[in-house]
Symmetry: C4
Subunit: 265 residues, 4 copies
């Protein structure tokens, strides 16, 4: 039994040891099922596909939930093999509250909850939760881990620049509201409504559904767009430098230092 | 009395000494009130909230003004504790014209002025001035001080690149006016009106309310957008390098220099 | 005969040796014909030019195909002069499947195929293939080779960041679909339809044909635009550094190294 | 007479010597008149200002032309003081074809030409030429000289990346034309018409007057916007590095070099 648990653990986790082949096959199968789930979630919202392949969508959904449930229970059973969760009860409880286990749980929970929910609105919202299955793939994705690391490292600077953007957005939208409200009371109806203009102007999206028409408003709108470009240069610069640092680090695992000045060679 | 003045001074300013606890509590309270003011300013423009919580908005406005007025008077009283403003009269006068004191004054002045103003248009404009309360938070914000430093340091380059943008905007809008005016006399009605197109094209916002329709105008519009991207690369590059320098500086407080080449290690 | 083959080979390829003059003349002629082909492909879609110069377009097309066919056959004949394709049969076969030979083939093949095709839809699609002629110029273009090298070198990072963008696009569009579908069932009709909004929001194009109207949707739309700017900072940063490295390399062909720290001087 | 010529020369040019005061006054006057001209050119296109101040605009135009004409003739007279144009006839002729003298000439020539022109269309176009007066200010502007230097230095890379953009624009627009033409024959009427879409999509302006509606067209449009961001990263990166190099150079006029490795200290 304990031997079997070890075997299952090695299969579920990506291991580099003896049972590497089985682990690789299982994890490729898992990625395939998750990807198919993402495609199914996207395509089942297209009316014609939904009608044509209704049976297929339901069957695949059922199969996915059963597969993910068995996998979740197996992971819970074998997690004690990991030194971090070695206690038979407290270890398993702590594992259940780890980020990856929560994501795994959120991928299956909505299905079981919707069986008992009678309110259609709740069922609709629960469907949205199925997108969490896509997050499961992030465990395998270098990209996702990279972005996590960069964001974690540059957290302080990013919060700082986000605060600047929000600060700027409030100021610009408040001024614009007082300038444009008399001319377009239906569009610039309140400061929160004007903030929608503010965010599309500062990010230079500019859908065109709301824009100033008075000369003063246009002047302010022009300055906002120019300032917005400068303001977004900040997080862009932070992220670019963060990503570059990481990419450089990954490429040069070992480093030498000049004996004279201590700089890297 | 002098002892009390010292105590109040230490509470108002963010101090690192003995009375640190009281100073922290007061400043957190101040930040909370300022943030609530920002939320109130934004939300009171939403019709339904304004009707529902009319009483609350007025009461909170009154409370804020009284709080800020007392705080302003206290600051004026204790500012002489600061060596920069030590003279009992001239010191206080000079303090009144410091940037932070002016912002504090602009946060309360509109309320008192509006009590005597009978013209509704002026009262409306004065309401706009309440946003200055939000600027008060900038005293605590690293972000705001950072942007101030970067802008101050790179002032010359930013003026230079702003001049370039304005120069380019006038040239492009003038040429576009002569090209598009005959085809769209109502939209490209004058060079100032065309400059609204120019600024949305160069910043790539592109609301879609005004755009060239003649082949020559479209060609010019395409070139403008391409040149605009290049032109805005300048202030973006300046600000990115400015922010990066500051962030780097803040992280490495002390520096050593290589004895061979004098470069930083 | 063998002497002639050598002569033709040296004329077709850009050689630096004796017959440089003839080779230069031929290659300039080839670039001119390709450029004229590009102009013809673009202009023949303009109704009035197509009617006015119908004869000219057909004649030039015929001339181009004959010229490219003769050139293709000549290249096939002389390719054995190249050491890589020296075998009289297998060398020529391998040459036919080289990238440049395939591009040459695709530039003439549609014409011959359309002579036998009776289905008009296929003939239309084949016309599109004529744009491949433009790719032929890439052989002479430093720009094209530069972009190929940069993309090849930074392949891993670019795939990684493209995955991130796609991942983000699916998540954002799925959430937006559930938020906006009830309010605008005709525009946000399905997740794939919402992805068109997602891509225009994240790239800040913002045509304005589809955008959120509910408060929650607008908030999500604003966050998407802000995140999109950060997300696109990644490939931009990768490409900028890639291009800069190449441009720098091309300018400094030889390098010296400091004997003390081994850094480039 | 010769003494007077020297005096006039020193006044017209920005000199650092004895007559510095007079030169400064004259050049400030010149900048003021040029700036007023720019404002007049912009404002006279606003219908209501043009009617109200018609007399003023005409008088100022007359004054400006007389002032610039006298200045042009004086410059022509005194240019022989400059060693470069010392010959009394050939020197003056060569001066007339220098960039700055041509700009000066283009600033006054349209007025004299329009006196004899009877065709109104030509007079309209000549009015456009008055914007050249604004270019005269570039002589004083560091910004203008900076951009000239950067563009001159990075010429090769900029041509290369512009070629890439044009190349990409033709390919993308050709494919989009064949994809969208059947669905929107009036908007995507020809490849040149589709190139207007292409340029607004690649620069992310997105006016919304023209955009794909078919699923395949939308997919292609999304890819175009993503590729466009990458493509414009190239000239942006080139210009940013070019400007940064210049700004850095201007700040460090003198440099020392480490005796060990020859790097700048």
């Amino acid at each position: 039994m304990l031997h079997l648990r070890k075997l299952v653990y090695r299969t579920l986790e990506i291991s580099a040891g003896k049972r590497r082949g089985m682990s690789l096959v299982f994890n490729l199968l898992l990625i395939t099922i998750i990807t198919l789930n993402a495609i199914a979630i996207v395509l089942h919202t297209v009316e014609e596909y939904n009608e044509q392949f209704a049976r297929l969508f339901i069957d695949f959904e059922l199969f996915s939930v059963i597969f993910f449930t068995i996998e979740y229970l197996l992971r819970l059973w074998v997690c004690v093999e990991n030194d971090k969760y070695s206690h038979w009860f407290w270890g398993r409880l702590r594992y259940m509250f780890s980020t990856s286990a929560i994501i795994d749980f959120l991928a299956i929970f909505p299905f079981y909850f919707s069986l008992f929910a009678t309110d259609l609105a709740i069922v609709r919202i629960l469907r949205l939760f199925r997108i969490f299955r896509l997050f499961r793939i992030s465990r395998y994705s270098h990209a996702f881990r990279l972005i996590q690391n960069v964001v974690a490292e540059k957290k302080e600077e990013l919060i700082l620049s986000t605060m600047l953007v929000v600060f700027m957005l409030i100021i610009v939208s408040s001024v614009m509201y007082y300038v444009e409200h008399p001319a377009q009371p239906d569009k610039f109806s309140s400061i929160p409504a004007t903030m929608w203009w503010g965010v599309t102007a500062m990010t230079t999206v500019g859908y065109g559904d709301i824009h100033p028409i008075t000369p003063l408003g246009k002047m302010l709108g022009g300055i906002t767009a120019i300032v917005g470009i400068g303001l977004f240069a900040l997080p862009t610069g932070i992220l670019v430098s963060g990503f570059n640092e990481h990419i450089r680090d990954r490429k040069k695992p070992s480093r030498n230092v000049c004996p004279h000045c201590g700089r890297e060679i």
